[in-house]
Symmetry: C2
Subunit: 239 residues, 2 copies
């Protein structure tokens, strides 16, 4: 029976078919079994707030399917999208481990399946399963690497067009699909959100995209964006 969100729901980690592909979940049978006893599986519609920046850590969310945006906001209401989390990522791990407030907010941008683990349970789990702890360290390392890339991008590139170019290339690598007309990426973010990803304003994104279109670098058809001249994009990205 299909779920209300057209998602295959897997309530049992032990039977999850994609487990082996996931840094964290790829564990021995006994560890997975232990995981199954403490987790709470949930389906979340698009727009669900998982946790909010500054809140005390309740626990971690394992993103089984779907995607979530991690954001941080200034007191003036300006928002920065730090990262788009993909399936397999563990959200809120660092705050949970340190016992410090969540440093970002997490919100699903697609219908998503998540496994929630309470803080104490998660810590106990890590302490009793060495491999889980190792995998968590790997997850954290990956997150740290991604954060470093973000820092590079924000701090080293002076021009906004460069940041946008890098974002598009990133999307090509991550979710791009090669077609005769170039690499296709499905843009499910608004210009406003794109602006929040690269730390600029909505208007600038609109203008830059028009510019890219005029220069025949990209081509927009509905929610699809074709990157027709990837070399030129790459050339714009010095960092």
């Amino acid at each position: 029976m299909p779920s209300p969100y057209n998602l295959e729901v897997e309530y049992n980690c032990a039977e999850c078919r994609v487990r082996a592909e996931r840094t964290f979940c790829n564990m021995s049978a006994s560890a997975v079994q232990a995981l199954d006893t403490v987790k709470f599986t949930g389906l979340y519609p698009k727009g669900s707030l998982l946790f909010v920046e500054g809140e005390e850590p309740r626990g971690v969310f394992i993103l089984c399917s779907g995607r979530a945006k991690l954001t941080t906001s200034s007191t003036e209401g300006k928002t920065l999208i730090v990262k788009i989390a993909e399936p397999g990522e563990v959200l809120g791990a660092s705050a949970t481990i340190l016992g410090k407030p969540y440093e970002v907010s997490a919100e699903t941008i697609e219908p998503s399946q998540l496994n929630f683990i309470k803080r104490e349970d998660f810590l106990k789990f890590l302490n009793s399963h060495a491999e889980a702890c190792m995998h968590t360290a790997q997850q954290l390392s990956e997150k740290y690497h991604a954060a470093q890339r973000e820092i590079r991008s924000l701090g080293l590139s002076q021009t906004t067009s460069e940041k946008l170019a890098r974002l598009l290339l990133d999307w090509c690598d991550r979710t791009g699909e090669e077609t005769a007309r170039g690499t296709r990426i499905k843009v499910l973010l608004t210009h406003e959100e794109i602006a929040q990803m690269i730390g600029t304003t909505r208007e600038t994104v609109t203008r830059l995209l028009s510019d890219f279109k005029r220069k025949k670098i990209v081509d927009v058809k509905g929610s699809s964006l074709f990157v027709t001249n990837k070399p030129l994009l790459e050339h714009m990205v010095s960092v």
Copy 2:
């Protein structure tokens, strides 16, 4: 006998007096003993390059004393100082764990004592000592948190003066010393390096500091900088 760098050198982790204060090193006697057998202790003068961005990970450095700057550079030679690492931090851990190239370069900015552990030895150590793995996860969480703060600072604050203000406040918290004339911080970085920390140019840093002096927010005496009006600085920082 004093070392050539006026540092107390501790070649034996088991006898290290500050071990308990360090996230990573604060381990059981047996684990510390194991650590002692695989580490290489070294004294490094100011300006030593520990590892370089892009290089294959040889292993990790535990910063026992001194400080190091972590940098990343663009192909055009522009450099960003990502972080100033303080004693107790483990450098290169994420790259070593993932087996991916170092994502930053590390260079000592003071004479420093470091313990080096080869990659295989470090991974073995983590696998055989659960608590070490846990502490590494904590270290990585802290690094990730710090990176998030950096991202906030770079991405959310539009004006450069705000970034500089935040940096100064950061230094007040970290190494500040309260005096009758305000909080004193010792600036061992050049304007150029400060610029690289907040992603701007040397000239702008000079101008902003003059500006702050004119506004009686700070006062510079040699390599000491007095923050005389901290509330005003805090007011500039909205993020």
